[in-house]
């Protein structure tokens, strides 16, 4: 009896329960048409299916998560004393060995007797566990089925119950988004605190120089390094602004054109085509920015007598802007499309040109959605690594000159985390501090954005 088969059986039972629940309530109701039945028959069906499936699925899922630990505990606990003395890490190796033998991955080696015993024990436990969980699942499924069946009567508020279940699932879904934030903050905060014990927070936040050229090894004497956040922040800001200067006008105008000017044919082609831009891997953009756009910018610059670095914020920003165009164009197109026609008609009826209608009636009505799209695009720009690393360099210059080489917070986080690192060196830890500070800053920006949207949000209809 395999648990997955049992699960399938319960799922089948749930489907059956759906039909049975529906039948039952109709039967109980008799031939009267909604004199007393609270909900649609299918809600009674869902009610039964949920009772049948949900508890069993929950318990079985929990078990399948816990089972390996439990089995491991039992297997190891039963081994000779010499094994009991091992560290838990070594025990994982022993366990791996046992498993490798159990599944025939160990090649031609012969196991020593203790391991061979453990393998047998493992097999036995595994089988027992499968039987137990299958039984529990089956019992729960059938019990749920019976309970649902017993509870069903036409007066029961089946719809409310099913909807409450749906609501609970939705709340859980929203909670996951919140938990992600918690997880991210937690995964940043401890290392950041360790960084701040090694490097003063004030100097980090307001330092004007970023130069993490520290000794990466304790036994290597190196320079002390400077961890000033500002040049990275201005770099992020500069590149994001450039990217937005490309993406917002291009994206928004494209969206407007697609939603209100283009023929449906053109729109249905142009939109997915532009979306391809969002799917091109960033390495490709990186090469494009570094090898095509940056030299082009430099050549133009030197033609007009400007001193342009061969790596420039401009090149990276422009290319990044192109990458995020679809974020603005597609999302804005959807919300513009959704603005009721009656508003457009109202404006046309007053003698507006199409562009006046769009600018003064449609866009304000679509504003919340457009702001959401732009915020997403900004987020994407702040979070982008590869293009900047390849085309704008890694030099942290405190400048607002778009022709200079700059670097961004995100790029530094990535290079610090994937490059050579050393435990506990401020250089590696600073990546976490950067992440945390960036998090706080974008949080502030979002709070402001929310307030602004609230203020200008217009309701139609």
């Amino acid at each position: 009896m395999s648990p997955s088969l049992v699960f399938l059986a319960i799922a089948a039972l749930a489907v059956f329960g759906f039909f049975l629940g529906r039948r039952r309530v109709l039967a109980l109701e008799g031939t009267r048409v909604r004199a007393s039945m609270h909900s649609l028959p299918s809600y009674y069906g869902y009610y039964m299916a949920l009772w049948c499936l949900a508890p069993a699925a929950l318990v079985m899922a929990l078990w399948s998560v816990l089972e390996p630990t439990v089995v491991q505990h039992l297997v190891l606990g039963n081994m000779p004393a010499s094994y009991q003395a091992m560290s838990s890490n070594q025990l994982t190796l022993v366990m791996a060995d046992i498993r490798n033998f159990a599944y025939g991955n160990a090649g031609t080696r012969t196991p020593d007797p203790a391991i061979a015993d453990a393998v047998r024990h493992y097999h036995a436990l595994h089988e027992t566990s499968a039987i137990i969980i299958s039984l529990i699942g089956a019992v729960l499924g059938i019990a749920g089925f019976a309970f649902g069946f017993w509870r069903i009567n036409p007066q029961m508020r089946a719809r409310n119950r099913v909807e409450r279940f749906a609501m609970a699932i939705m709340i859980i879904a929203s909670t996951i988004a919140v938990l992600t934030t918690v997880g991210i903050v937690l995964s940043l905060v401890f290392e950041s605190l360790r960084f701040f014990t090694k490097y003063p927070a004030f100097e980090f936040l307001f330092g004007l120089q970023w130069s993490p050229q520290t000794a990466i090894r304790a036994d290597q004497v190196g320079s002390s390094g400077a961890f000033g956040f500002l040049p990275l922040f201005t770099g992020s800001l500069l590149i994001t602004v450039i990217a937005m200067l490309v993406a917002v006008p291009v994206g928004l105008l494209s969206a407007i054109y697609m939603a209100d000017y283009a023929s449906p044919r053109l729109r249905s082609v142009a939109k997915p085509v532009l979306e391809v831009l969002a799917g091109i891997p960033t390495v490709v953009y990186g090469f494009f920015a570094a090898l095509t756009v940056a030299p082009f910018v430099r050549d133009i610059g030197s033609a007009v007598g400007l001193n342009v670095a061969s790596e420039s914020a401009l090149a990276a920003g422009v290319v990044m802007g192109i990458m995020i165009v679809p974020f603005v164009s597609s999302l804005a197109d959807d919300v513009i499309h959704a603005v009721p026609q009656s508003l457009r008609h109202g404006a046309y009826g007053l003698g507006s040109t199409k562009s006046e209608t769009i600018r003064q009636v449609v866009l304000p009505a679509a504003l919340p959605g457009i702001v959401a799209a732009v915020m997403l695009a900004i987020s994407r720009a702040i979070g982008e690594t590869m293009i900047v690393a390849m085309a704008a360099g890694l030099a942290a210059n405190l400048t607002f000159n778009p022709l200079a080489a700059v670097t961004t917070v995100t790029v530094q986080i990535a290079t610090l985390l994937v490059g050579d690192q050393e435990f506990d060196s401020p250089k590696t830890l600073s990546a976490f501090a950067l992440g945390l500070v960036l998090f706080v800053i974008t949080l502030c920006l979002n709070v402001i954005a929310l307030a602004v949207v609230r203020k200008y949000r217009e309701k139609y209809d």
């Binding site: 532009l274 799917g279 891997p281 390495v283 494009f288 679809p326 999302l331 009721p340 929310l450």
Partner: protein, 435 residues
């Protein structure tokens, strides 16, 4: 009577001034429209340039140069144990057999360094091909076999014309002698260009001519399946809850800001989260598509939620009121009316987030998916890599043969993207409605 006196008073909209202003307004209108068109063209042009640069570099990777060799399966080399035991035969020197076959074509090459130079013509895969053939049919041992084997990457590149003229002072990848040998073979009709199917079916390799994206395609498929299965329902449900059901208070404001903020978290930080939670706490395996999928799902979630909320908000309230007034429950209002009308925007968010997830490497670095993995993954917990990682790794490889492979892999990724999005795009079109 003169017209001037008799003419009925003109309305304010027919005066000269109005006409002049109208002209200006029309000019503005035209400009605006022009900007719109220009914007689309700019993006399309950028896309075209990118695609052109990718395709023009990469299309050659879909063909491969092969050499027709007649080799004698020397029993001593093919089966050192002599017992036709497959395990023994695997360790046989099949590359040596291929080399002997090549040598026999150039009897006058005897010098040691010359032979070495000659052998560079053969790919390491040549021996593997012969091995596979012999393992499948041990009766071949001792016989002569004619077989098509891949040539080494440098020759492949040469045959495809990827090595331009070497500037003065430089050292060409192939010596004149090597080129001469190759040309001789070509003149003898032993060299072919054929469709490179194994590029799509096989796993990674250090040899450009043997490398394929098969493993990465499967890996991407597994990973994104997890991502989609998690992110889409969670994202849509969270958006519905927050937009339609949650009380509008401080708490939901905090949640909203939070989610918007999550979108701005650098993707590599999601990798850190995955490392800390899924690998270190839950003990899931490194490099596994489940972990990658979950991490990418968490990364995609805010995009889907934000896009979904924006389009839910765009549904006119009168539609909700109409349904509520008929006694629909709020869940029914949402599922019957609001959700279908908001679907296009939700699907757009999904398309964008999946495109993002499909092209992302940084978070995968943290959880070990940026790795050299040859074996094609068989399940969600086996070591796997994904297409963008493959691209990233190849782009960073010294071997010249990887240049075209990189571009070809990008083409595959874009094809993957289009296939992945096709359904969403189709559905979006279907759900679109004006009101």
């Amino acid at each position: 009577m003169t017209d001037i006196v008799e003419r009925p008073a003109l309305g304010v909209h027919a005066t000269d001034e109005a006409t002049k202003r109208l002209k200006r307004r029309y000019a503005a209108e035209k400009r605006f429209r022009g900007y719109g068109l220009a914007a689309i063209l700019v993006s399309m042009l950028a896309l075209a340039v990118l695609l052109w640069s990718i395709v023009s570099q990469g299309y050659t990777a879909f063909t491969a140069t092969t050499l027709t060799l007649t080799v004698t399966i020397d029993p001593a080399m093919a089966d050192p144990g002599g017992k036709r035991n497959p395990d023994d035969m695997r360790t046989g020197d099949f590359q040596g057999i291929a080399r002997a076959g090549l040598r026999s074509l150039f009897p006058d090459v005897t010098d040691r360094s010359q032979t070495r130079a000659l052998y560079t013509l053969l790919s390491n895969g040549a021996g593997d091909d012969i091995r596979d053939k012999v393992l499948a049919n041990p009766a071949l041992i001792g016989q002569q076999v004619t077989i098509k084997v891949p040539v080494a990457s440098d020759y492949d590149m040469y045959a495809k014309g990827h090595f331009g003229k070497t500037p003065k002072g430089g050292e060409a990848r192939l010596s004149p002698q090597q080129i001469a040998w190759f040309e001789t073979l070509r003149a003898d009709g032993k060299v072919h260009r054929s469709l490179n199917i194994w590029f799509l079916s096989s796993g990674d390799s250090r040899q450009p001519e043997l490398a394929g994206v098969g493993g990465a395609i499967i890996g991407s498929f597994l990973t994104l399946a997890v991502t989609l299965i998690i992110a889409f329902p969670l994202g849509v449900m969270a958006a519905i809850y927050l937009e339609e059901f949650a009380p509008k208070n401080r708490w939901t404001d905090i949640i909203e800001v939070n989610i918007n903020n999550l979108a701005a978290v650098p993707s590599i930080v999601f990798g850190l989260l995955g490392l800390a939670v899924f690998l270190n706490v839950f003990g899931l395996p490194r490099s596994a598509p489940v972990v990658g999928g979950v991490v990418l799902a968490l990364m995609s979630l805010p995009i889907i939620i934000i896009a979904s909320r924006a389009s839910l908000r765009a549904v006119p309230p009168s539609i909700r009121q109409a349904a509520l007034g008929l006694g629909a429950s709020r869940v029914q209002v949402v599922t019957h009316h609001v959700l279908p009308l908001a679907m296009p925007g939700i699907l757009t968010g999904t398309i964008l987030s999946m495109a993002h997830a499909l092209g992302e490497t940084a978070p995968l670095l943290m959880i070990g998916m940026v790795a050299f993995i040859v074996d094609i993954p068989q399940g969600f917990t086996q070591a796997a890599t994904v297409l963008p990682v493959q691209i990233y790794l190849w782009a960073d490889s010294p071997e010249r043969g990887f240049v075209e492979k990189t571009s070809a892999a990008i083409m595959v990724l874009l094809a993957f993207l289009l296939v992945m999005n096709a359904i969403a795009i189709f559905l979006r079109k279907k759900f679109e409605r004006k009101w």
